[in-house]
Protein backbone atom coordinates (compact mmCIF):
# COMPACT_ATOMS: atom_id res chain seq x y z
CA UNK A 1 0.00 0.00 0.00
CA UNK A 2 2.65 2.49 1.10
CA UNK A 3 6.17 2.05 -0.17
CA UNK A 4 9.06 4.44 0.51
CA UNK A 5 12.35 3.88 -1.32
CA UNK A 6 15.49 5.82 -0.50
CA UNK A 7 13.61 8.83 0.83
CA UNK A 8 15.76 11.82 1.75
CA UNK A 9 14.58 15.17 3.10
CA UNK A 10 17.12 17.92 3.64
CA UNK A 11 16.58 21.35 5.14
CA UNK A 12 18.97 24.18 4.57
CA UNK A 13 19.14 26.36 7.68
CA UNK A 14 21.52 29.20 7.03
CA UNK A 15 24.65 27.47 5.79
CA UNK A 16 23.93 24.35 7.76
CA UNK A 17 22.35 21.31 6.16
CA UNK A 18 19.87 19.42 8.35
CA UNK A 19 19.04 15.88 7.31
CA UNK A 20 15.50 15.37 8.54
CA UNK A 21 15.27 12.00 6.77
CA UNK A 22 18.10 9.95 5.28
CA UNK A 23 17.66 6.92 3.06
CA UNK A 24 14.34 5.85 4.53
CA UNK A 25 12.91 2.61 3.17
CA UNK A 26 9.56 1.57 4.54
CA UNK A 27 6.67 -0.53 3.42
CA UNK A 28 3.26 -0.46 5.08
CA UNK A 29 0.50 -2.84 4.10
CA UNK A 30 -3.23 -2.19 4.07
CA UNK A 31 -4.89 -2.32 7.49
CA UNK A 32 -1.65 -2.05 9.46
CA UNK A 33 -1.47 -0.23 12.76
CA UNK A 34 1.93 1.46 12.98
CA UNK A 35 3.45 3.73 15.58
CA UNK A 36 6.43 5.95 14.79
CA UNK A 37 8.60 6.82 17.79
CA UNK A 38 11.90 8.50 18.40
CA UNK A 39 13.54 11.43 20.12
CA UNK A 40 12.52 14.99 19.43
CA UNK A 41 13.83 16.29 16.11
CA UNK A 42 14.46 12.83 14.77
CA UNK A 43 12.23 13.34 11.72
CA UNK A 44 8.93 11.71 12.72
CA UNK A 45 6.74 14.60 11.65
CA UNK A 46 8.71 15.00 8.45
CA UNK A 47 8.08 11.35 7.64
CA UNK A 48 4.37 11.72 8.32
CA UNK A 49 4.16 14.88 6.19
CA UNK A 50 5.77 13.06 3.30
CA UNK A 51 3.40 10.13 3.74
CA UNK A 52 0.53 12.63 3.70
CA UNK A 53 1.80 14.40 0.56
CA UNK A 54 2.08 17.68 2.48
CA UNK A 55 5.81 17.64 1.82
CA UNK A 56 7.93 16.33 -1.04
CA UNK A 57 11.09 14.30 -0.52
CA UNK A 58 14.29 15.65 -2.02
CA UNK A 59 15.24 12.19 -3.18
CA UNK A 60 13.61 8.80 -3.40
CA UNK A 61 10.31 7.40 -4.56
CA UNK A 62 7.03 7.25 -2.65
CA UNK A 63 4.47 4.85 -4.08
CA UNK A 64 0.92 4.95 -2.78
CA UNK A 65 -1.14 2.06 -4.12
CA UNK A 66 1.42 1.64 -6.94
CA UNK A 67 1.16 5.30 -7.99
CA UNK A 68 4.45 7.17 -7.89
CA UNK A 69 3.26 10.23 -5.98
CA UNK A 70 6.50 12.15 -6.49
CA UNK A 71 5.53 12.54 -10.12
CA UNK A 72 2.12 14.05 -9.38
CA UNK A 73 1.44 17.78 -9.63
CA UNK A 74 0.07 19.84 -6.74
CA UNK A 75 -3.54 19.52 -7.82
CA UNK A 76 -3.34 15.74 -8.27
CA UNK A 77 -1.61 15.38 -4.89
CA UNK A 78 -4.40 17.41 -3.34
CA UNK A 79 -6.89 15.03 -4.91
CA UNK A 80 -5.08 12.04 -3.39
CA UNK A 81 -5.13 13.74 0.01
CA UNK A 82 -8.81 14.50 -0.37
CA UNK A 83 -9.87 10.93 -1.06
CA UNK A 84 -7.24 8.62 0.40
CA UNK A 85 -5.72 10.29 3.43
CA UNK A 86 -7.11 11.60 6.71
CA UNK A 87 -5.00 13.73 9.07
CA UNK A 88 -5.23 14.00 12.83
CA UNK A 89 -3.07 16.72 14.39
CA UNK A 90 -1.72 17.32 17.87
CA UNK A 91 -3.37 20.76 17.94
CA UNK A 92 -6.66 19.57 16.39
CA UNK A 93 -6.70 22.39 13.81
CA UNK A 94 -10.43 22.92 13.91
CA UNK A 95 -11.66 26.16 12.35
CA UNK A 96 -12.77 28.22 15.35
CA UNK A 97 -15.65 30.08 13.70
CA UNK A 98 -17.31 26.89 12.48
CA UNK A 99 -19.41 24.51 14.57
CA UNK A 100 -18.37 20.90 15.15
CA UNK A 101 -20.75 19.75 12.42
CA UNK A 102 -19.44 22.35 9.98
CA UNK A 103 -15.85 21.37 10.70
CA UNK A 104 -16.68 17.75 9.97
CA UNK A 105 -18.53 18.80 6.83
CA UNK A 106 -15.58 20.78 5.45
CA UNK A 107 -13.78 17.99 3.54
CA UNK A 108 -17.03 17.09 1.79
CA UNK A 109 -17.60 20.74 0.86
CA UNK A 110 -14.11 20.90 -0.63
CA UNK A 111 -14.76 17.66 -2.50
CA UNK A 112 -18.07 18.95 -3.86
CA UNK A 113 -20.36 16.44 -2.19
CA UNK A 114 -24.04 17.36 -2.50
CA UNK A 115 -25.44 19.21 0.56
CA UNK A 116 -28.29 16.76 1.05
CA UNK A 117 -25.86 13.86 1.35
CA UNK A 118 -23.48 15.83 3.57
CA UNK A 119 -25.93 16.40 6.38
CA UNK A 120 -26.67 12.72 6.88
CA UNK A 121 -23.03 11.71 6.81
CA UNK A 122 -22.05 14.37 9.34
CA UNK A 123 -24.80 13.24 11.69
CA UNK A 124 -23.77 9.61 11.45
CA UNK A 125 -20.09 10.41 11.95
CA UNK A 126 -20.71 12.61 15.00
CA UNK A 127 -23.12 10.10 16.49
CA UNK A 128 -20.60 7.29 16.01
CA UNK A 129 -18.08 9.26 18.09
CA UNK A 130 -20.63 10.15 20.77
CA UNK A 131 -20.77 13.80 19.75
CA UNK A 132 -24.36 13.98 18.48
CA UNK A 133 -25.35 16.55 21.12
CA UNK A 134 -22.27 18.66 20.40
CA UNK A 135 -22.93 19.22 16.69
CA UNK A 136 -23.83 22.89 17.09
CA UNK A 137 -20.99 23.73 19.47
CA UNK A 138 -18.00 25.70 18.36
CA UNK A 139 -14.52 24.30 19.15
CA UNK A 140 -14.02 26.70 22.09
CA UNK A 141 -17.12 25.20 23.68
CA UNK A 142 -15.66 21.68 23.55
CA UNK A 143 -13.13 19.84 25.72
CA UNK A 144 -9.80 18.78 24.26
CA UNK A 145 -10.90 15.17 23.89
CA UNK A 146 -14.12 16.23 22.21
CA UNK A 147 -12.19 18.49 19.85
CA UNK A 148 -9.89 15.66 18.87
CA UNK A 149 -12.86 13.39 18.26
CA UNK A 150 -14.41 16.07 16.03
CA UNK A 151 -11.07 16.15 14.19
CA UNK A 152 -11.20 12.34 13.85
CA UNK A 153 -14.73 12.58 12.46
CA UNK A 154 -13.43 15.13 9.97
CA UNK A 155 -10.45 12.92 9.03
CA UNK A 156 -12.68 9.94 8.32
CA UNK A 157 -15.69 11.61 6.73
CA UNK A 158 -14.33 11.14 3.20
CA UNK A 159 -13.75 7.41 3.97
CA UNK A 160 -9.99 7.50 3.35
CA UNK A 161 -7.78 4.38 3.27
CA UNK A 162 -5.09 5.86 5.48
CA UNK A 163 -5.15 7.78 8.77
CA UNK A 164 -2.03 9.77 9.65
CA UNK A 165 -1.91 10.98 13.25
CA UNK A 166 0.87 13.23 14.58
CA UNK A 167 0.86 12.92 18.37
CA UNK A 168 -2.94 12.79 18.55
CA UNK A 169 -2.89 12.50 22.33
CA UNK A 170 -0.03 14.93 22.88
CA UNK A 171 -2.35 17.68 24.02
CA UNK A 172 -4.80 15.59 26.01
CA UNK A 173 -5.01 14.28 29.56
CA UNK A 174 -4.86 10.53 30.14
CA UNK A 175 -8.57 9.77 30.03
CA UNK A 176 -9.43 11.73 26.93
CA UNK A 177 -6.19 10.47 25.37
CA UNK A 178 -7.40 6.94 26.02
CA UNK A 179 -10.77 7.77 24.42
CA UNK A 180 -9.04 9.08 21.33
CA UNK A 181 -6.75 6.06 21.03
CA UNK A 182 -9.75 3.75 21.41
CA UNK A 183 -11.46 5.62 18.59
CA UNK A 184 -8.40 5.33 16.36
CA UNK A 185 -8.04 1.65 17.11
CA UNK A 186 -11.70 1.11 16.27
CA UNK A 187 -11.04 2.69 12.88
CA UNK A 188 -8.09 0.37 12.39
CA UNK A 189 -10.28 -2.62 13.19
CA UNK A 190 -12.58 -1.48 10.39
CA UNK A 191 -9.64 -1.89 8.03
CA UNK A 192 -8.10 1.59 7.86
CA UNK A 193 -4.33 1.82 7.77
CA UNK A 194 -3.15 3.89 10.73
CA UNK A 195 0.24 5.53 11.10
CA UNK A 196 0.62 7.34 14.41
CA UNK A 197 3.53 9.39 15.69
CA UNK A 198 3.79 9.31 19.46
CA UNK A 199 6.16 10.02 22.33
CA UNK A 200 4.22 7.81 24.66
CA UNK A 201 5.88 4.35 24.97
CA UNK A 202 2.74 2.92 26.50
CA UNK A 203 0.74 4.03 23.47
CA UNK A 204 3.46 2.77 21.14
CA UNK A 205 3.33 -0.59 22.80
CA UNK A 206 -0.33 -0.97 21.90
CA UNK A 207 0.37 -0.92 18.16
CA UNK A 208 1.17 -4.11 16.28
CA UNK A 209 4.16 -2.50 14.56
CA UNK A 210 6.61 0.00 15.98
CA UNK A 211 9.00 2.00 13.82
CA UNK A 212 11.89 3.67 15.63
CA UNK A 213 13.51 6.74 14.07
CA UNK A 214 16.76 8.27 15.27
CA UNK A 215 18.47 11.13 13.48
CA UNK A 216 16.42 10.72 10.33
CA UNK A 217 17.15 7.01 9.96
CA UNK A 218 14.98 4.04 10.74
CA UNK A 219 16.67 2.28 13.63
CA UNK A 220 14.11 -0.33 14.47
CA UNK A 221 11.01 -1.86 12.95
CA UNK A 222 9.36 -4.29 15.36
CA UNK A 223 6.26 -6.32 14.55
CA UNK A 224 4.15 -8.25 16.97
CA UNK A 225 3.31 -11.67 15.89
CA UNK A 226 -0.37 -11.58 14.91
Amino acid sequence: MIRLEGIQRVFQVGDETVYALRDVNLEIGPGEYVSVMGPSGSGKSTLLNILGLLDRPDEGVYRLETVDTTELGDARQAEVRRHKIGFIFQFFHLIPRLTAAENVELPMILAGVAPSERRGRVETALAALGLADRARHRPDQLSGGQRQRVAIARATIMRPRIILADEPTGNLDRTSGKDVVDTIEALNREGLTVVMVTHDPELGARTRRQVQIVDGRIRGDRREAP
Binding site: S45, N49, G52, L54, D55, D74, A75, A78, E79, V80, R81, R82, H83, I85, F87, F89, F91, H93, I95, P96, R97, L98, E102, L106, P107, I109, L110, A111, G112, P115, R154, M158
Partner: protein, 401 residues
Protein backbone atom coordinates in the same frame (compact mmCIF):
# COMPACT_ATOMS: atom_id res chain seq x y z
CA UNK B 1 -16.42 22.68 -4.50
CA UNK B 2 -19.82 23.96 -5.49
CA UNK B 3 -20.26 27.72 -6.17
CA UNK B 4 -22.92 27.98 -3.49
CA UNK B 5 -20.62 26.34 -0.94
CA UNK B 6 -17.80 28.64 -1.98
CA UNK B 7 -19.99 31.69 -1.43
CA UNK B 8 -21.20 30.27 1.87
CA UNK B 9 -17.66 29.62 3.06
CA UNK B 10 -16.64 33.18 2.09
CA UNK B 11 -19.61 34.68 3.91
CA UNK B 12 -18.82 32.63 7.01
CA UNK B 13 -15.20 33.71 7.09
CA UNK B 14 -16.12 37.36 6.53
CA UNK B 15 -18.73 37.13 9.28
CA UNK B 16 -16.06 35.59 11.49
CA UNK B 17 -14.23 38.94 11.63
CA UNK B 18 -17.07 41.46 11.87
CA UNK B 19 -15.03 44.55 12.76
CA UNK B 20 -12.52 44.08 9.98
CA UNK B 21 -15.21 43.21 7.47
CA UNK B 22 -17.31 46.17 8.57
CA UNK B 23 -14.47 48.64 8.17
CA UNK B 24 -13.67 47.35 4.71
CA UNK B 25 -17.30 47.50 3.72
CA UNK B 26 -17.42 51.06 4.96
CA UNK B 27 -14.39 52.10 2.94
CA UNK B 28 -15.81 50.55 -0.20
CA UNK B 29 -19.25 51.98 0.49
CA UNK B 30 -17.91 55.50 0.97
CA UNK B 31 -16.00 55.21 -2.29
CA UNK B 32 -19.02 54.04 -4.25
CA UNK B 33 -21.34 56.54 -2.60
CA UNK B 34 -19.01 59.46 -3.30
CA UNK B 35 -18.71 58.52 -6.95
CA UNK B 36 -22.47 58.36 -7.35
CA UNK B 37 -23.27 61.47 -5.31
CA UNK B 38 -20.56 63.63 -6.88
CA UNK B 39 -21.45 62.67 -10.42
CA UNK B 40 -25.09 63.31 -9.59
CA UNK B 41 -24.16 66.77 -8.37
CA UNK B 42 -22.29 67.35 -11.62
CA UNK B 43 -25.22 66.13 -13.65
CA UNK B 44 -27.49 68.35 -11.58
CA UNK B 45 -25.29 71.35 -12.33
CA UNK B 46 -25.45 70.52 -16.02
CA UNK B 47 -29.22 70.35 -15.97
CA UNK B 48 -29.43 73.51 -13.91
CA UNK B 49 -27.44 75.44 -16.49
CA UNK B 50 -29.42 73.94 -19.33
CA UNK B 51 -32.63 74.99 -17.63
CA UNK B 52 -31.36 78.48 -17.02
CA UNK B 53 -30.56 78.82 -20.69
CA UNK B 54 -33.97 77.65 -21.68
CA UNK B 55 -35.50 80.18 -19.32
CA UNK B 56 -33.70 82.86 -21.30
CA UNK B 57 -36.31 82.31 -23.96
CA UNK B 58 -36.29 80.07 -26.96
CA UNK B 59 -34.48 80.43 -30.28
CA UNK B 60 -32.52 83.26 -28.83
CA UNK B 61 -29.56 85.09 -30.34
CA UNK B 62 -27.58 87.54 -28.29
CA UNK B 63 -25.80 90.31 -30.18
CA UNK B 64 -22.90 91.91 -28.31
CA UNK B 65 -20.76 94.80 -29.44
CA UNK B 66 -17.15 93.88 -30.19
CA UNK B 67 -15.56 90.76 -31.61
CA UNK B 68 -14.79 87.96 -29.25
CA UNK B 69 -13.21 85.53 -31.70
CA UNK B 70 -10.03 86.24 -33.56
CA UNK B 71 -10.20 84.97 -37.09
CA UNK B 72 -6.49 84.96 -37.76
CA UNK B 73 -4.32 87.77 -39.10
CA UNK B 74 -2.56 90.37 -37.02
CA UNK B 75 -4.68 92.56 -34.79
CA UNK B 76 -5.27 96.08 -36.12
CA UNK B 77 -2.52 98.52 -35.29
CA UNK B 78 -4.76 101.08 -33.80
CA UNK B 79 -6.41 99.86 -30.69
CA UNK B 80 -9.79 98.85 -31.96
CA UNK B 81 -12.70 100.39 -30.16
CA UNK B 82 -15.70 98.48 -31.34
CA UNK B 83 -18.46 100.53 -32.81
CA UNK B 84 -21.39 100.88 -30.49
CA UNK B 85 -24.58 98.97 -31.05
CA UNK B 86 -27.41 101.42 -31.38
CA UNK B 87 -31.17 101.30 -31.31
CA UNK B 88 -31.07 101.93 -35.06
CA UNK B 89 -28.90 98.83 -35.49
CA UNK B 90 -31.43 96.85 -33.48
CA UNK B 91 -34.34 98.13 -35.58
CA UNK B 92 -32.46 97.30 -38.77
CA UNK B 93 -32.27 93.65 -37.69
CA UNK B 94 -36.01 93.32 -38.19
CA UNK B 95 -35.33 93.20 -41.93
CA UNK B 96 -33.97 89.67 -41.63
CA UNK B 97 -36.64 87.24 -42.77
CA UNK B 98 -35.65 84.69 -40.14
CA UNK B 99 -35.92 87.29 -37.39
CA UNK B 100 -39.14 87.33 -35.45
CA UNK B 101 -38.55 89.70 -32.58
CA UNK B 102 -35.86 92.14 -31.56
CA UNK B 103 -35.31 93.63 -28.14
CA UNK B 104 -32.56 96.18 -27.56
CA UNK B 105 -31.15 96.09 -24.07
CA UNK B 106 -29.59 98.94 -22.23
CA UNK B 107 -28.42 98.39 -18.68
CA UNK B 108 -27.61 100.89 -16.02
CA UNK B 109 -28.10 101.58 -12.42
CA UNK B 110 -30.08 104.39 -10.88
CA UNK B 111 -31.85 105.22 -7.64
CA UNK B 112 -35.58 104.59 -7.70
CA UNK B 113 -37.65 106.46 -5.19
CA UNK B 114 -41.25 106.52 -4.08
CA UNK B 115 -42.83 108.17 -1.11
CA UNK B 116 -39.61 108.84 0.78
CA UNK B 117 -38.14 105.37 0.14
CA UNK B 118 -35.25 105.07 -2.25
CA UNK B 119 -33.36 102.12 -3.61
CA UNK B 120 -30.50 101.68 -6.07
CA UNK B 121 -31.86 99.50 -8.84
CA UNK B 122 -30.69 97.95 -12.09
CA UNK B 123 -32.50 99.77 -14.90
CA UNK B 124 -33.26 97.81 -18.01
CA UNK B 125 -34.02 99.86 -21.09
CA UNK B 126 -35.85 97.78 -23.67
CA UNK B 127 -39.07 97.45 -25.65
CA UNK B 128 -42.32 95.54 -25.60
CA UNK B 129 -40.85 92.51 -27.30
CA UNK B 130 -38.60 91.73 -24.37
CA UNK B 131 -41.70 90.28 -22.76
CA UNK B 132 -41.99 87.45 -25.27
CA UNK B 133 -38.29 87.01 -25.85
CA UNK B 134 -37.50 86.56 -22.20
CA UNK B 135 -40.67 84.66 -21.60
CA UNK B 136 -41.70 87.01 -18.80
CA UNK B 137 -44.97 87.01 -16.88
CA UNK B 138 -46.87 89.83 -15.21
CA UNK B 139 -48.03 89.83 -11.62
CA UNK B 140 -49.96 93.08 -12.04
CA UNK B 141 -50.71 95.52 -14.83
CA UNK B 142 -49.06 95.21 -18.20
CA UNK B 143 -45.61 95.30 -19.77
CA UNK B 144 -44.12 98.15 -21.82
CA UNK B 145 -46.54 99.13 -24.58
CA UNK B 146 -45.58 98.49 -28.19
CA UNK B 147 -45.03 101.59 -30.23
CA UNK B 148 -42.44 103.99 -31.54
CA UNK B 149 -39.15 102.85 -30.15
CA UNK B 150 -37.60 106.27 -30.41
CA UNK B 151 -40.27 107.75 -28.20
CA UNK B 152 -39.43 107.22 -24.57
CA UNK B 153 -42.71 107.15 -22.73
CA UNK B 154 -42.30 107.81 -19.04
CA UNK B 155 -43.59 104.44 -17.90
CA UNK B 156 -41.90 101.64 -16.03
CA UNK B 157 -42.39 98.02 -15.03
CA UNK B 158 -41.03 96.92 -11.67
CA UNK B 159 -39.59 93.62 -10.54
CA UNK B 160 -41.65 92.14 -7.73
CA UNK B 161 -38.90 92.51 -5.13
CA UNK B 162 -38.61 96.25 -5.75
CA UNK B 163 -42.32 96.59 -5.67
CA UNK B 164 -42.39 94.97 -2.26
CA UNK B 165 -39.56 97.07 -0.93
CA UNK B 166 -40.89 100.39 -2.19
CA UNK B 167 -44.61 99.89 -1.93
CA UNK B 168 -45.12 97.24 0.70
CA UNK B 169 -48.77 96.32 0.51
CA UNK B 170 -49.86 99.39 -1.43
CA UNK B 171 -50.73 98.98 -5.10
CA UNK B 172 -48.04 100.52 -7.28
CA UNK B 173 -50.11 100.70 -10.46
CA UNK B 174 -50.45 104.30 -11.62
CA UNK B 175 -48.01 105.57 -9.03
CA UNK B 176 -45.26 107.91 -10.16
CA UNK B 177 -41.78 106.87 -9.09
CA UNK B 178 -38.65 108.89 -9.49
CA UNK B 179 -35.85 107.20 -11.43
CA UNK B 180 -32.72 109.32 -11.34
CA UNK B 181 -33.97 112.82 -12.09
CA UNK B 182 -37.05 111.68 -14.04
CA UNK B 183 -40.50 110.59 -13.11
CA UNK B 184 -42.05 107.39 -14.42
CA UNK B 185 -45.52 105.99 -14.08
CA UNK B 186 -45.67 102.39 -12.89
CA UNK B 187 -47.74 100.35 -15.33
CA UNK B 188 -46.95 96.82 -14.27
CA UNK B 189 -45.16 94.45 -11.93
CA UNK B 190 -43.28 91.35 -13.10
CA UNK B 191 -44.22 87.98 -11.70
CA UNK B 192 -41.46 86.26 -9.73
CA UNK B 193 -39.52 84.12 -12.17
CA UNK B 194 -36.19 83.29 -10.67
CA UNK B 195 -32.84 84.20 -12.07
CA UNK B 196 -31.79 84.10 -15.66
CA UNK B 197 -28.09 84.13 -16.43
CA UNK B 198 -27.18 86.04 -13.35
CA UNK B 199 -29.67 88.85 -13.87
CA UNK B 200 -32.30 88.77 -11.18
CA UNK B 201 -35.47 89.90 -12.90
CA UNK B 202 -37.16 90.58 -9.58
CA UNK B 203 -34.63 93.29 -8.85
CA UNK B 204 -34.95 95.46 -11.98
CA UNK B 205 -37.02 98.28 -13.30
CA UNK B 206 -37.80 98.09 -17.01
CA UNK B 207 -38.28 101.34 -18.94
CA UNK B 208 -38.51 102.09 -22.66
CA UNK B 209 -35.10 102.08 -24.29
CA UNK B 210 -35.40 105.69 -25.49
CA UNK B 211 -36.10 106.77 -21.94
CA UNK B 212 -33.05 104.83 -20.77
CA UNK B 213 -30.94 106.55 -23.41
CA UNK B 214 -32.07 109.90 -22.10
CA UNK B 215 -31.63 108.81 -18.49
CA UNK B 216 -28.08 107.56 -18.97
CA UNK B 217 -27.28 110.05 -21.70
CA UNK B 218 -25.86 107.35 -23.93
CA UNK B 219 -26.80 105.77 -27.24
CA UNK B 220 -24.88 102.51 -26.96
CA UNK B 221 -26.72 99.31 -26.20
CA UNK B 222 -25.54 96.69 -23.78
CA UNK B 223 -26.75 94.01 -26.19
CA UNK B 224 -29.54 93.14 -28.54
CA UNK B 225 -31.70 90.09 -28.05
CA UNK B 226 -32.99 88.55 -31.26
CA UNK B 227 -35.55 85.82 -31.47
CA UNK B 228 -35.49 83.66 -34.56
CA UNK B 229 -38.74 82.48 -36.15
CA UNK B 230 -38.11 78.93 -35.10
CA UNK B 231 -35.33 76.66 -34.00
CA UNK B 232 -34.16 75.79 -37.50
CA UNK B 233 -34.02 79.47 -38.43
CA UNK B 234 -31.43 80.29 -35.78
CA UNK B 235 -28.49 79.82 -38.15
CA UNK B 236 -30.13 81.90 -40.88
CA UNK B 237 -31.03 84.58 -38.39
CA UNK B 238 -27.43 84.65 -37.20
CA UNK B 239 -25.99 85.23 -40.65
CA UNK B 240 -28.70 87.80 -41.38
CA UNK B 241 -27.77 89.68 -38.21
CA UNK B 242 -24.09 89.59 -39.13
CA UNK B 243 -24.79 90.70 -42.72
CA UNK B 244 -27.02 93.57 -41.71
CA UNK B 245 -24.65 94.85 -39.06
CA UNK B 246 -21.64 94.50 -41.36
CA UNK B 247 -23.34 96.69 -43.95
CA UNK B 248 -24.30 99.22 -41.31
CA UNK B 249 -20.82 99.21 -39.79
CA UNK B 250 -18.95 99.93 -43.01
CA UNK B 251 -18.09 96.33 -43.78
CA UNK B 252 -16.59 95.54 -40.38
CA UNK B 253 -17.49 92.43 -38.44
CA UNK B 254 -17.47 94.16 -35.10
CA UNK B 255 -20.21 92.35 -33.27
CA UNK B 256 -20.46 88.93 -31.70
CA UNK B 257 -23.56 86.80 -32.06
CA UNK B 258 -24.05 84.11 -29.48
CA UNK B 259 -26.71 81.56 -30.10
CA UNK B 260 -28.31 79.85 -27.19
CA UNK B 261 -27.51 76.45 -28.65
CA UNK B 262 -23.82 77.21 -28.99
CA UNK B 263 -23.63 78.55 -25.46
CA UNK B 264 -25.56 75.63 -24.15
CA UNK B 265 -23.34 73.18 -25.99
CA UNK B 266 -20.24 74.83 -24.57
CA UNK B 267 -21.55 74.73 -21.03
CA UNK B 268 -22.73 71.22 -21.58
CA UNK B 269 -19.25 70.14 -22.63
CA UNK B 270 -17.62 71.92 -19.71
CA UNK B 271 -20.00 70.50 -17.15
CA UNK B 272 -19.87 66.98 -18.55
CA UNK B 273 -16.09 67.14 -18.35
CA UNK B 274 -16.42 68.46 -14.82
CA UNK B 275 -18.75 65.63 -13.87
CA UNK B 276 -16.32 63.09 -15.25
CA UNK B 277 -13.41 64.73 -13.46
CA UNK B 278 -15.26 64.79 -10.15
CA UNK B 279 -16.31 61.18 -10.69
CA UNK B 280 -12.70 60.28 -11.43
CA UNK B 281 -11.49 61.95 -8.26
CA UNK B 282 -14.09 60.04 -6.30
CA UNK B 283 -12.97 56.86 -8.03
CA UNK B 284 -9.57 57.38 -6.44
CA UNK B 285 -11.23 56.70 -3.11
CA UNK B 286 -12.34 53.40 -4.59
CA UNK B 287 -8.76 52.59 -5.45
CA UNK B 288 -7.82 53.47 -1.87
CA UNK B 289 -10.54 51.15 -0.66
CA UNK B 290 -9.08 48.48 -2.96
CA UNK B 291 -5.66 48.89 -1.38
CA UNK B 292 -7.29 48.65 2.01
CA UNK B 293 -8.92 45.41 0.96
CA UNK B 294 -5.57 44.09 -0.19
CA UNK B 295 -3.95 45.08 3.08
CA UNK B 296 -6.66 43.50 5.18
CA UNK B 297 -6.73 40.37 3.05
CA UNK B 298 -2.98 40.04 3.47
CA UNK B 299 -3.46 40.26 7.23
CA UNK B 300 -6.26 37.73 6.94
CA UNK B 301 -3.95 35.35 5.09
CA UNK B 302 -1.26 35.62 7.73
CA UNK B 303 -3.79 35.29 10.55
CA UNK B 304 -5.34 32.29 8.93
CA UNK B 305 -2.23 30.36 7.92
CA UNK B 306 -3.24 27.42 10.08
CA UNK B 307 -6.65 27.35 8.42
CA UNK B 308 -5.09 27.50 4.97
CA UNK B 309 -2.69 24.71 5.89
CA UNK B 310 -5.61 22.68 7.15
CA UNK B 311 -7.58 23.25 3.94
CA UNK B 312 -4.58 21.99 2.02
CA UNK B 313 -4.27 18.94 4.24
CA UNK B 314 -7.97 18.26 3.67
CA UNK B 315 -7.25 18.20 -0.04
CA UNK B 316 -7.94 21.70 -1.31
CA UNK B 317 -5.75 22.33 -4.37
CA UNK B 318 -3.97 25.70 -4.66
CA UNK B 319 -6.40 27.16 -7.18
CA UNK B 320 -9.33 26.37 -4.90
CA UNK B 321 -7.72 28.24 -2.02
CA UNK B 322 -7.04 31.12 -4.38
CA UNK B 323 -10.71 31.11 -5.36
CA UNK B 324 -11.75 31.18 -1.72
CA UNK B 325 -9.75 34.30 -0.96
CA UNK B 326 -10.62 35.99 -4.23
CA UNK B 327 -14.23 35.17 -3.44
CA UNK B 328 -13.93 36.93 -0.11
CA UNK B 329 -12.45 40.03 -1.73
CA UNK B 330 -15.13 40.02 -4.41
CA UNK B 331 -17.90 39.56 -1.90
CA UNK B 332 -16.51 42.40 0.17
CA UNK B 333 -16.43 44.81 -2.72
CA UNK B 334 -19.87 43.78 -3.93
CA UNK B 335 -21.39 44.15 -0.48
CA UNK B 336 -19.51 47.43 -0.05
CA UNK B 337 -20.85 48.62 -3.38
CA UNK B 338 -24.38 47.67 -2.36
CA UNK B 339 -24.09 49.58 0.91
CA UNK B 340 -22.54 52.46 -1.04
CA UNK B 341 -25.47 52.59 -3.43
CA UNK B 342 -27.87 52.75 -0.50
CA UNK B 343 -25.82 55.56 1.03
CA UNK B 344 -25.75 57.36 -2.31
CA UNK B 345 -29.50 57.03 -2.70
CA UNK B 346 -29.90 58.52 0.75
CA UNK B 347 -27.52 61.35 -0.13
CA UNK B 348 -29.24 62.15 -3.41
CA UNK B 349 -32.68 62.08 -1.82
CA UNK B 350 -31.34 64.31 0.96
CA UNK B 351 -30.01 66.89 -1.48
CA UNK B 352 -33.21 66.83 -3.49
CA UNK B 353 -35.23 67.36 -0.31
CA UNK B 354 -32.96 70.15 0.93
CA UNK B 355 -32.65 71.98 -2.41
CA UNK B 356 -35.75 71.25 -4.45
CA UNK B 357 -34.69 73.83 -7.06
CA UNK B 358 -31.51 71.99 -7.86
CA UNK B 359 -32.25 69.36 -10.50
CA UNK B 360 -29.98 66.69 -9.02
CA UNK B 361 -30.04 63.55 -11.12
CA UNK B 362 -28.07 60.31 -11.01
CA UNK B 363 -26.48 59.72 -14.43
CA UNK B 364 -27.29 56.16 -15.48
CA UNK B 365 -23.66 55.26 -16.03
CA UNK B 366 -22.40 56.37 -12.62
CA UNK B 367 -23.73 53.60 -10.33
CA UNK B 368 -22.74 51.04 -12.93
CA UNK B 369 -19.26 52.50 -13.21
CA UNK B 370 -18.92 52.76 -9.43
CA UNK B 371 -19.92 49.14 -8.87
CA UNK B 372 -17.72 48.05 -11.77
CA UNK B 373 -14.70 49.89 -10.43
CA UNK B 374 -15.22 48.60 -6.90
CA UNK B 375 -15.56 45.04 -8.16
CA UNK B 376 -12.47 45.46 -10.31
CA UNK B 377 -10.41 46.89 -7.45
CA UNK B 378 -11.61 44.12 -5.16
CA UNK B 379 -10.51 41.51 -7.68
CA UNK B 380 -7.25 43.18 -8.62
CA UNK B 381 -6.21 43.83 -5.05
CA UNK B 382 -7.53 40.45 -3.94
CA UNK B 383 -5.26 38.55 -6.29
CA UNK B 384 -2.02 39.10 -4.42
CA UNK B 385 -3.29 37.88 -1.02
CA UNK B 386 -5.12 34.99 -2.66
CA UNK B 387 -1.98 33.89 -4.48
CA UNK B 388 0.00 34.16 -1.31
CA UNK B 389 -2.55 31.94 0.43
CA UNK B 390 -2.53 29.44 -2.40
CA UNK B 391 1.23 29.07 -2.31
CA UNK B 392 1.58 28.76 1.43
CA UNK B 393 3.58 25.74 2.51
CA UNK B 394 1.13 23.53 4.43
CA UNK B 395 3.78 22.00 6.69
CA UNK B 396 4.96 25.31 8.11
CA UNK B 397 1.38 26.59 8.15
CA UNK B 398 0.27 23.65 10.29
CA UNK B 399 3.31 23.51 12.55
CA UNK B 400 2.57 26.98 13.86
CA UNK B 401 -0.20 26.93 16.36
Amino acid sequence: MKPGDLAGFCVRSLAGYPLRTGLMLLAMAIGVASVVVLTSLGEGARRYVAREFTSLGTHLLIVLPGRSETTGGPPPLLGETPRDLTVEDAEALRRGSAVRRVAPIMVGSAPVAWGGLEREVTILGSNAELYEIRDLAMAQGRFLPPGDITRGEAVCVLGHKIRRELFGNASPLGAWVRVGQRRFRVIGVLAPKGQALGLDMSDVAVIPVAAAQALFNSASLFRVLVQARHRDAVARAKSAVLDILRTRHDGEDDVTVITQDALLATFDRILTALTLAVGGIAAISLAVAGILIMNVMLIAVSQRTAEIGLLKALGAPPNQIQRLFLGEATLLSLAGAAVGLVLAAGGVIGVVKAFPVFPMAVPAWSPLAAVGVSLATGLVFGVLPARRAAHLDPVTALSRR
